[in-house]
């Protein structure tokens, strides 16, 4: 399955500045719950705590599934679909 992943709000700094990437997932990755550790283990080079805590994203990260808050889509249990765009946004606090 092919997906687009996006990282913004500073999340891209964990991924060498990559803001957008197309990925082909192995068959066992079918939900957001399995997607997160796959991203951590395959794409992240360091600082896994800055991305995940426990089995979910760390506090202060908003996850979007096709432009909607993931909480509207079932959060971790969301079943990934071909062509989905999943966005990880670190919230900003500066002003």
């Amino acid at each position: 399955m092919k997906l687009t992943l996006e990282f913004t709000g500073g999340m891209e700094l964990l991924f060498q500045g990559t803001k957008k990437v197309s990925v082909t997932l192995p068959e066992k990755v079918t939900t957001v719950k399995t997607l997160l550790p796959w991203i951590r283990d395959s794409l992240l080079k360091s600082k896994p705590d800055m991305f995940m805590q426990g089995d979910t994203v760390r506090p202060g990260v908003l996850v979007l599934i096709n432009d909607a808050d993931w909480e509207l889509e079932g959060q971790l249990s969301y079943e990934l679909q071909e062509g989905d765009t999943i966005v990880f946004i670190s919230t900003l606090h500066g002003g």
Binding site: T8, G9, G10, K19, S46, D49, M50, R58, P59, G60, L62, L64, D67, A68, D69, E71, L72, V87, I89, S90, T91, L92, H93, G94, G95
Partner: protein, 450 residues
């Protein structure tokens, strides 16, 4: 051209002095807007809140001044009356608060309160467009009210020159209709959220960093509150402030201006666009993206069904693990024997004692200024570039002492820790205490400040 006589010089300087005095007193006279440090002595009871007389109709002057609003069918006379009869509290007179205040004052918001504990500093002027060179050193809240009063003398501007905390927030917010979160740190953001939920006020929230901005309207017409979306605070090490990460000036301008836009729409009785929606601005790609946020969280402690929040009892700084400002905090992870003062390190340099100086700042900062003969290995790259450290240590006769330096002396301590762990046999690995900031303060006053 003939040379000026001494008498003429004196006369000219006296005249200039007089002009400057007049200018100064004009500025001081403009501090007429109330600087309310005692507002909190007032009881929070609504009866004690100084009431502004609501206008039943617009005056002839109002019609002239706000005519471009009155021509808009969506605003019209009713909407503008809503604006002039409204009161708004702007928390933070920085990058976001500056443009927000300018537009709120121009639009005629009846009473504008500005809270900020900080003073205007030269490095603010790149984006905090409400302040100017003349007001460097003045409190930001006062500076903002001076600027707003210059734009619009018909409105009331109140400066609150202190840090908003849980003992002051609720009483203050109750006195205003709409709150704009133009702050710069998580503890203040949670504090404002809780106070707005308790007082039932809409919270127009903005944030900016680097080339990105975010904006939404919390706690209004069924939209979630900040805690619904972010029930737990971010780990402190993931929070970057503008003073470390940088921020492109116009980005704060865009976000702060849209905050004013949304607040004015609420006052005018027009539904805001970002209720339950988050605007994300990426100034680099030019993308303005709006996403749907979740609804209220049923189990939200602030606004959910079984909400337990009854007052501002949380110690917000402790809960977030950080201070309610955007100043970088000093770490002390090393023992004193693993540190060297800037003065002692200066003696090492003056004596030309062979050593290795590792500058752990990001490359971009070393372009601003760097000590001669330093080796730049950004802290994030240290692990992968340890061989360069090893090489440098053995470049001379025997083993050279290693000193690590950074901007403020935090990352350099982490670097020392890391190098010590990897090369336990090295005799001297020390951090230059206080970094280049301390170097500027104590050793080289000509060193750039950034």
């Amino acid at each position: 051209m003939t040379a000026e006589s001494p008498d003429a010089t004196i006369e000219r300087l006296l005249a200039e002095n007089e002009r400057l005095r007049q200018r100064l007193s004009a500025i001081e006279g403009l501090s007429g807007p109330r600087i309310d440090k005692t507002a909190l002595d007032r009881s929070s009871s609504p009866n004690d809140t100084p009431t502004r007389k609501k206008k039943a109709k617009l005056s002839r002057n109002d019609i002239h001044r706000y005519s471009r609003h009155l021509l808009l069918p969506e605003i019209s006379v009713e909407g503008q009356l809503g604006i002039v009869n409204s009161s708004m509290l702007v928390v933070g007179a920085g990058g976001l608060g500056s443009p927000a205040c300018l537009y709120l004052a121009s639009a005629g918001v009846g009473r504008i309160g500005v809270v900020d504990y900080d003073e205007v500093e030269v490095s603010n002027l790149q984006r905090q467009v409400i302040h100017d060179e003349e007001r460097v050193g003045l409190s930001k809240s006062t500076s903002a009210t001076i600027a707003m009063t210059r734009i619009n003398s018909q409105i009331e501007c109140i400066a609150y020159n202190y840090l908003l905390d849980r003992s002051t927030a609720l009483d203050l917010i109750k006195q205003y209709d709409i709150v704009l979160d133009c702050s710069d740190n998580p503890p203040t953001r949670y504090l404002l959220n809780d106070a707005c939920v308790l007082a039932g006020k809409p919270l127009v929230s903005g944030a900016a960093l680097r080339f990105e901005g975010q904006l939404t309207v919390y706690n209004h017409h069924g939209s979630p509150c900040y805690r619904c979306v972010f029930p737990a605070p971010p780990p402190p090490e993931t929070v970057t402030n503008c003073g470390d990460g940088g921020v492109f000036g116009p980005v704060t301008g865009i976000v702060g201006t849209i905050q004013a836009l949304e607040a004015l729409k609420i006052a005018a009785g027009v539904e805001p666009a970002y209720c339950g929606k988050l605007l994300m601005v990426d100034a680099m790609s030019g993308a303005f993206r709006t996403i749907r946020l979740r609804g209220k969280r049923k189990e939200c402690v602030a606004c959910g069904d079984g909400a337990t929040l009854t007052g501002l009892e949380t110690d917000y700084e402790m809960w977030c693990g950080m201070k309610a400002n955007d100043k970088t905090q000093s770490l002390a992870v090393l023992k004193q024997e693993d540190r060297i003062s800037v003065d002692a390190y200066n003696r090492v340099r003056v004596a030309k004692t062979p050593h290795v100086l590792i500058d752990t700042r990001p490359l971009v900062q070393t372009k601003i200024c760097a000590l001669d003969n330093s080796l730049n290995i950004p802290i994030d790259e240290l692990e992968s570039r340890l061989s360069e450290v090893e090489e440098a240590v053995h470049a001379g006769q025997g083993e050279l002492p290693v000193y690590c330096i950074c901007r403020r002396g935090n990352d350099s301590q982490l670097a020392v820790q890391h190098i010590r762990t990897k090369f336990p046999s090295l005799a001297v690995v020390k951090d230059v205490e206080g970094g280049l900031e301390a170097w500027r303060r104590k050793v080289d006053p000509e060193w750039p400040e950034y």
